[in-house]
Assembly symmetry: C2
Homo-oligomer: 749 residues x 2
C-alpha cells in the first residue's frame, strides 16, 4: 500500500507539472489532490491580499463592492458559474461619534486612529469609518462613569454587593470574556444610559507582546470596532429575521427590531480609557478586575468622572454583495458542498477577513484549474464570498434565509473560514465530520516544521499541557497523547456558519490556523493591514496556502465521496460528554445553592466582610432542583449504540455499495444533521433551532452545547430545563433512528 501511495504521488506530481494534463472523471483522488496543490500559490494570495486590503472595505464602501466584483471576475476567469447576489440591509453608518470627559476636567477622546510608521495604509484612511460599533442605539448622554470589568452577569452581582449601580450612568467595560455585544446589552438591562467598551492592555496590548509597529500587539491608540447587534437572538439584517432581505421583503422598523440596542455605545483605545479610569473614585475594584493600566482600578459611580457620549448614525438601507460561484456536480448535482468566507472588513481587513478570503480564492483557482483539466466533482461545489459579516453575519444569513428550502434540500456541508494566521490548525463544527478533518490534517504539511499539520497540532496540545500554558481538556490531551484524532470544538457564533448550522441545520465546519500570529492586536482596527498581516501574522502567507490545502482536500473528498464520509461515533461520544457536563453543572449549582443558603443563614457574609471595604451578602436564590434527564440519558445511550453499530457496519462493507444502496445511503445521511433542529427553536430565540449547538446567550461567540437544557439550568429557568431535556431527547432519538435506517441500507436489509 505504501509503495502504491508513493507511485500515485509521483504520477500526480508529473500531472501537476503538465499544464495540458487531463483529469478525467474517475481520476485517482491522490492525483486530483496533487494537481489541486499545484494550483495553490502563496504569491497569488499575497497579490490578492495587497489589492483587496489597499482601501477601506467596510459595508457600503466603494472598495468593498469593488472587492466583490474583483472576486466575481476571478471566479469567472477560473471557470466558475458565478454571480453577485444583492440584498438591502439596515446598516447604520456613523455620522458623528463623540466621547469626552466633562468632569473632573474636560478632555476630548475618541476619533480615528493615528498613522503608524511603516504601515502605509494607516496613513491613508480616507473613506474609513471612525471607531464605532454597529447597531448601538444612537443618543446623546452625559453621566457618571462606572467601571464594570468585563460587563458580564457576575460582574453586576459583584457591583451590587458593593452597593454600586449603573442605573442612569455610563458603563465602561473592558473587552474580553464575553462577546462584545453582551456588554452594552447587559448594561442597558441594568439601566445604564450608555456604554464604552475599551481594550485593556493586559488582555489586548502590551500584556500580549510588543505593540505595533515594534511588535504585533495592540498599540495604545488602537480601537476594536465591531458589532453589538444581539446576534444571540438572531443574526443578519435586524429588520428581516428568518427571511431574506430582498427588495420586497416585509421588514420590521428600526424601533421594533429587537436586535438593535437602545443606548449609545462607543469603543475606545486604552490610551483614552486610561484618562477616564485613572480618575474614577468609589471603591477599589475587586480581585480579578484590575487590568494592565498603571494605577489602582476603581469602580467609580461616585460622580468623580462624568462623560459625554453621543452617537448619530445614518440608518439607511444599504446594498450588500455576496459572491456566489458554482461548479456543477456530475453525479449528484443536487447535493451541494458549500464553502464560504466573508470579504467585508472593518477598515482594511487584511487579516479579518481577507487572509481567509484569499486562501479560499486559491482553492477556487485550483478547483477551476482541475475543472479545466477535465475533472468533474460528483457533487456540486458552491463557493461564496459573503458581504456584511462584520455588522452581524448579514450576507451569509440573508442568503441562507432566502434560499432556505433549497439549501435544506441540497446542502451536504458548509465549510467556513475567516481570519487565518500562523501556527496550529483549529477546527470547530459538527462532530460527525471530526474524523474527516483529522484525516485531512494528516495529509497536509505544516510550512514551518515539515511535520504534518495533525502531528504539529498534537505536539502543540501536549507541550502546552506539559508547560502548563493551556488547559487542554482531558479528552483533547488524552487524544493527543495517543496520537489519535484530536477533538474539534463546538461552534457558537462569530462567523458565517451560523445560519447554516443553527438555523437550517446543515452540518458545518470552521477552520483556520493560529496560535502564533498576532492579529488579535489589530483586530477590527485601522492597523489590520497588509503590513501587519505579512509581518506579524503570516509572513509570505505560507499558512494561507496550508489552509487552502486543508480546506481544498475537505471539499474534494466530500464532493467526490462515493458514500458520506462522516463518522457518527465521534458525534455520539461528544454529545455524551456534553450530557455529562450538564449533569455536573446541575450538581455544582445545587452544591453552590446549598452553600449560599447556609452562608446567608449564618450571617457569614457580614462576618467575613471588611467594614472599611464593605461587600454585601450574595443575593438569595432558589435551590437548583433536579432536572428530568432520564429520557435524555436514554436518548444519548441509544445514539451511541446506533452510531457504533452504523460505523462498524460501514467499515465492514469497505464502503463498497451497489449504486442503488449507495444513492439511498447518500439520501439518508445528507440531511441527518437537520434532525437536530426543533422547529420551536430555543427558549426566547426561535431563530436558533439546533438543540446540540448554539451560541450562548451570555457568551455570544462561545458555544453552548445542549443549549436548551444547559442554559435553562444556568439561568434558573427550570421548567425550560425539563421541557428541553425532553425535546433534546426527541431530536437525538430521531437522529439515532435515521442511523438505524442507514445501517439497514449498508447491511443490505
Amino acid at each position: 500500500m505504501k509503495t502504491f501511495r508513493i507511485l500515485a504521488t509521483a504520477s500526480a506530481l508529473a500531472l501537476a507539472g503538465a499544464a495540458t494534463a487531463q483529469l478525467a472523471p474517475g481520476a485517482d483522488p491522490k492525483a486530483v489532490e496533487a494537481a489541486f496543490d499545484a494550483g495553490v500559490s502563496s504569491q497569488d494570495q499575497l497579490d490578492w491580499l495587497r489589492q483587496m486590503s489597499s482601501a477601506p472595505n467596510q459595508v457600503g464602501s466603494p472598495h468593498d463592492k469593488a472587492n466583490a466584483e474583483f472576486m466575481l471576475a476571478k471566479f469567472k476567469e477560473w471557470g466558475w458559474d458565478a454571480h453577485l447576489e444583492q440584498f438591502e440591509v439596515l446598516y447604520p453608518t456613523p455620522i458623528t461619534t463623540t466621547v469626552e470627559m466633562v468632569a473632573p476636567e474636560h478632555m476630548t477622546l475618541g476619533g480615528q486612529e493615528p498613522p503608524v510608521p511603516g504601515d502605509d495604509t494607516s496613513a491613508n484612511t480616507a473613506g474609513a469609518l471612525p471607531p464605532y460599533v454597529a447597531y448601538q442605539g444612537d443618543g446623546d448622554v452625559t453621566a457618571d462613569l462606572v467601571y464594570v470589568n468585563y460587563g458580564m452577569p457576575a460582574d453586576y452581582e459583584a457591583l451590587a454587593r458593593r452597593g454600586i449601580a449603573v442605573k442612569g450612568k455610563i458603563a465602561i467595560a473592558r473587552y474580553g470574556v464575553g462577546w462584545r455585544g453582551l456588554k452594552p446589552k447587559l448594561a442597558q438591562d441594568h439601566g445604564a444610559v450608555g456604554t464604552i467598551i475599551y481594550s485593556d492592555p493586559d488582555d489586548d496590548g502590551y500584556g500580549a507582546g510588543d505593540v505595533y509597529p515594534r511588535g504585533g500587539a495592540r498599540p495604545e491608540q488602537g480601537v476594536q470596532r465591531g458589532s453589538v447587534q444581539d446576534i444571540t437572538n438572531y443574526p443578519g439584517d435586524p429588520l428581516t429575521p428568518g427571511i431574506g432581505a430582498t427588495p420586497g421583503a416585509k421588514r420590521l422598523t428600526r424601533q421594533t427590531a429587537p436586535t438593535i440596542l437602545r443606548i449609545p455605545v462607543l469603543p475606545m483605545s486604552y490610551a483614552d480609557a486610561a484618562k477616564l479610569l485613572a480618575r474614577l473614585g468609589g471603591p477599589f475594584a475587586p480581585t480579578g478586575w484590575r487590568g494592565g493600566l498603571p494605577f489602582a482600578y476603581h469602580l467609580g459611580g461616585d460622580g468623580a468622572v462624568k462623560v459625554h457620549l453621543a452617537v448619530k448614525s445614518d440608518w439607511k438601507l444599504t446594498p450588500i454583495y455576496d459572491v456566489i460561484a458554482t461548479l456543477k456536480g456530475a453525479r449528484y448535482p443536487d447535493q451541494w458542498v458549500i464553502r464560504g468566507n466573508h470579504h467585508d472588513g472593518w477598515v482594511f481587513g487584511a487579516s479579518d477577513p481577507l487572509s481567509g478570503n484569499v486562501a479560499m480564492m486559491s482553492e477556487a483557482k485550483a478547483l477551476g484549474q482541475l475543472w479545466q483539466q477535465g475533472w468533474r466533482p460528483a457533487r456540486t461545489i458552491v463557493y461564496t464570498g459573503w458581504d456584511a459579516e462584520e455588522p452581524g453575519l448579514l450576507g451569509s444569513t440573508e442568503w441562507a434565509e432566502t434560499h432556505a428550502a433549497e439549501l435544506k434540500a441540497k446542502g451536504v456541508l458548509y465549510i467556513n473560514s475567516d481570519s487565518n494566521g500562523r501556527g496550529f490548525l483549529h477546527g470547530e463544527g459538527s462532530h460527525d465530520w471530526q474524523h474527516l478533518v483529522n484525516v485531512v490534517a494528516a495529509d497536509v504539511t505544516d510550512p514551518e516544521t515539515g511535520a504534518t499539520v495533525a502531528e504539529r497540532s498534537r505536539a502543540g496540545v501536549r507541550v502546552a499541557a506539559f508547560d502548563r500554558l493551556s488547559r487542554a481538556g482531558d479528552t483533547e490531551l488524552a487524544a493527543a497523547e495517543k496520537g489519535g484524532d484530536l477533538p474539534i470544538g463546538a461552534l457558537g457564533s462569530g462567523s458565517d456558519y451560523s445560519a447554516y448550522l443553527q438555523h437550517l441545520g446543515l452540518p458545518a465546519l470552521d477552520l483556520g490556523f493560529g496560535g502564533e500570529s498576532e492579529s488579535g492586536g489589530v483586530y477590527h482596527s485601522v492597523y489590520d493591514s497588509f503590513h501587519h498581516m505579512t509581518t506579524f501574522d503570516d509572513p509570505g502567507l505560507k499558512y494561507g496556502a496550508a489552509l487552502s490545502k486543508v480546506v481544498g482536500r475537505l471539499v474534494l473528498r466530500v464532493a467526490d465521496a462515493d458514500t458520506p464520509p462522516q463518522r457518527f461515533g465521534d458525534f455520539a461520544d461528544t454529545v455524551s460528554t456534553y450530557l455529562t457536563q450538564v449533569k455536573t453543572l446541575a450538581e455544582d449549582r445545587r452544591a453552590e445553592d446549598r452553600k449560599r443558603e447556609r452562608l446567608l443563614a449564618d450571617g457569614a457574609f457580614r462576618l467575613a466582610a471588611d467594614p472599611l471595604k464593605p461587600v454585601g451578602a450574595a443575593a438569595a436564590a432558589a435551590r437548583t432542583p433536579y432536572v428530568e434527564l432520564a429520557a435524555l440519558e436514554d436518548a444519548v445511550d441509544r445514539l451511541q449504540a446506533a452510531a457504533t453499530a452504523y460505523d462498524r457496519a460501514y467499515a465492514d462493507t469497505g464502503a463498497k455499495l451497489d449504486p442503488v444502496r449507495r444513492d439511498r445511503l447518500n439520501a439518508q445521511l445528507r440531511d441527518i444533521d437537520q434532525l437536530l433542529l426543533d422547529e420551536r427553536g430555543l427558549p426566547g430565540r426561535p431563530w436558533y433551532r439546533n438543540l446540540v449547538y448554539a451560541p450562548g446567550r451570555f457568551t455570544g461567540y462561545g458555544a453552548k452545547t445542549l443549549p436548551g437544557v444547559r442554559e435553562a439550568i444556568e439561568e434558573r429557568r427550570f421548567a425550560d430545563a425539563n421541557d428541553y431535556a425532553a425535546r433534546t431527547a426527541a431530536v437525538l432519538t430521531a437522529y439515532a433512528a435515521r442511523l438505524d435506517q442507514a445501517r439497514a441500507t449498508v447491511e443490505g436489509r
Copy 2:
C-alpha cells in the same frame, strides 16, 4: 454550665474594675482572664507605638537600643524580673550603595525614599539606612541586565529554554513567590555577577490597592529592604552557627561564612525598575512573567541595557540587645512558657515589628498586674523582646543557641508574634497545640464584628471559598463548614520561632491578625510608619488589643494548666495528610517525568515551538523512582493510633490526675516535640533538625513538611529520600512510643 460562665464573667468584671482586687493562687481561671483583659489597652499600645516608631530603629541604631531599654524599664515597672542580654554579631552596615543605568543612557537610580505628605517620619529619615539588603556580597560590577521573573528555579529553566543565561550578567528579579534571599542566591549559582530585586506594582503596588498616601499600597518610590542571608542553611549570626555569638565565641570569618552571598545585591522601587525594564531587548517574556508596569516585558541579556551596581558595607561586629523578662512559676518553675516578638525594624518599623511588639507589651503589663494582685503562674513565663530579627533572626537565634541546654530542659512552648494587622486571626505552628489555639480564638471577641475571633475566621474561609477568592484547602473549608477547629498552618521561617522549633525542637506557635490591613504595601520601607499603621493597618490598634487577649489566654492556659493541654490526634492527622502529599508528589513527578521523556522522544518540543519565538525542549531528567515509604506509612499509622488512644484516655479522666501522675505526665509530654529532631539534621543543612517542619530550601519562609523526604523528591536526591523516609519514620515512632507511655500514666498503669 452556661449560667455558671455568665456568673464567672460578671464576677471577673467586678474584679477587673477593682484596682485593689486580689487574685490568690488557685483563683478561678475565668476571673484571671477577665482581669488580664482589663489590663490590656489599645491606648497603651498607641502610646508605645508612637514612641518606639519615632526614629529609625534598625540594628545598631541608637533608637533600637533605646527601644530595648524602654522595654526593659517597662517590664521592670510592671514587676517582671528583667534584663538585657547582649550579643556581638556580624552586621554589614552599608557605607555606599550605587545603582545606575549606564546604557542605553545614563541614569542614576536608587537612594533613600522621598517624604510623603501626611507621614511625618518619612520626612525625617536622619539615621536611617538607604535601601539595601543585609548580607549581600559587596562588590562593584557593570554588566548586561537579564529579567528573571521571580528568580526561582523554574524561571531559570524557562530562560534556558529561550537561550538566555545570566552568567556574567546582572539579574533583575521581582519580589514574590519565593523568599527574597533565594533570588540572589540562585542568580549567583547561575553565574550572575549582581542582582537587583524590585517590587512589581502588580504584586505590590497599584495592583494591590491605592498607593500611599491615598491608600496603603506601595508607592512607586517605595523599596523593600530585607535580609538575603541564606537562612535556609542556618539563621542567626553568620559567624557562629549553632553557638551563641557571645564575646569569646569561636567565629567563622566573613569569607568562610556560608550564609553570606558573594555578589552585590540591591533592592529597587518600581519607579526605578520601570526605567530599566522598559528598555530591555531580547525575547518577549513568557506567559506569567509580565508584571504591572505599562509595557511589554522582555528578557534582556542582549546588551541593550547595562547597569552599574556597587555596594560597600562596614562589616563590623555590632552589639544587639535582647530583652529577657521572667515571672517565676509557683509549681513548675523549671517549665518555661516562652513568648517573643522582635523590636528591631528596617526603618521606623511601626507595623514590622512594633505592632506585634506593643501587643506583647500589653500582655506583659497585664500579666504584671495579675502578679501584683497576687496571682502566681504554675509555670515560669518568659517574655522576650528580640533584637536583630530583620537581618536574619539573630537575637532569638543567638539566645536559643546560648541557652540551648536549659531551653531544651525547660521549654514547654514558644509563642511568637511579629507584625499585626486588621482582620482574621492566623495561626501556624506545632499541630499538637492546634486545638488550644482554636479554643482561645473562640473566647476572644473580634473588634469589628462582635463575633468571636474563631467565628469570624470560619466565616472568612467559607465566604472566600464561595467567592472563589482563595483556595482554602479542602480540609480547612470542610472544618470551617462543620464549625469545628480550623487547621493551623505549618511554620517555615521568617520570624523568631525558627531556632526554637527547628533547631531545639520546642513546639512553637506564631499568631497574628491580618487580611484587611495594608502593611504589605510599606513592608520594610520608610513608609512603615505610625501614620500608615494607624491609618491603613489597624486604626486605634483594636486588633493589637485582640492579639494581646488571644496570646495572653494561650500563655495563661499553658502556664497554669494542670496537665499538658495538647491534643495529639490533630498532630497525627496533620502528619498523615503530609504523607499523602508526599506520595502524591512522587506520583505527579513520575507522571511528569514520563511525559517529558515521551515528548523528547517524539521531538514534540520542536514541533510545538514557534520558529519566530523559539522555545527549546525541556531538559532531560531521570525518572523519579519509587521511594521506600512503607516504614514511614507504618509509623504514621502507629502515630495516629497512639494519638487517638491517648486523647481518648485523657478525655476519659477529665484531666483529673493525682499529683504524682500529674507530674509524671507533665514530664513525659513537656519535651515530646523534641523527639521530632534528628541530630544529623536535614541533608546539607545540619542546623535544621526537625523532620516534620522546616523552611523550604527553595521557598525560604514557606514551610516544607516532612522536609527530609519531600525536598529530596523535589530535588531528585533519591538516596536522601529513602534515607530520610526511614529517619522520619524513626522520629515519629519515638513520638508514638512516648504517647503510649503518657497514656499509661493517664490510665494509672
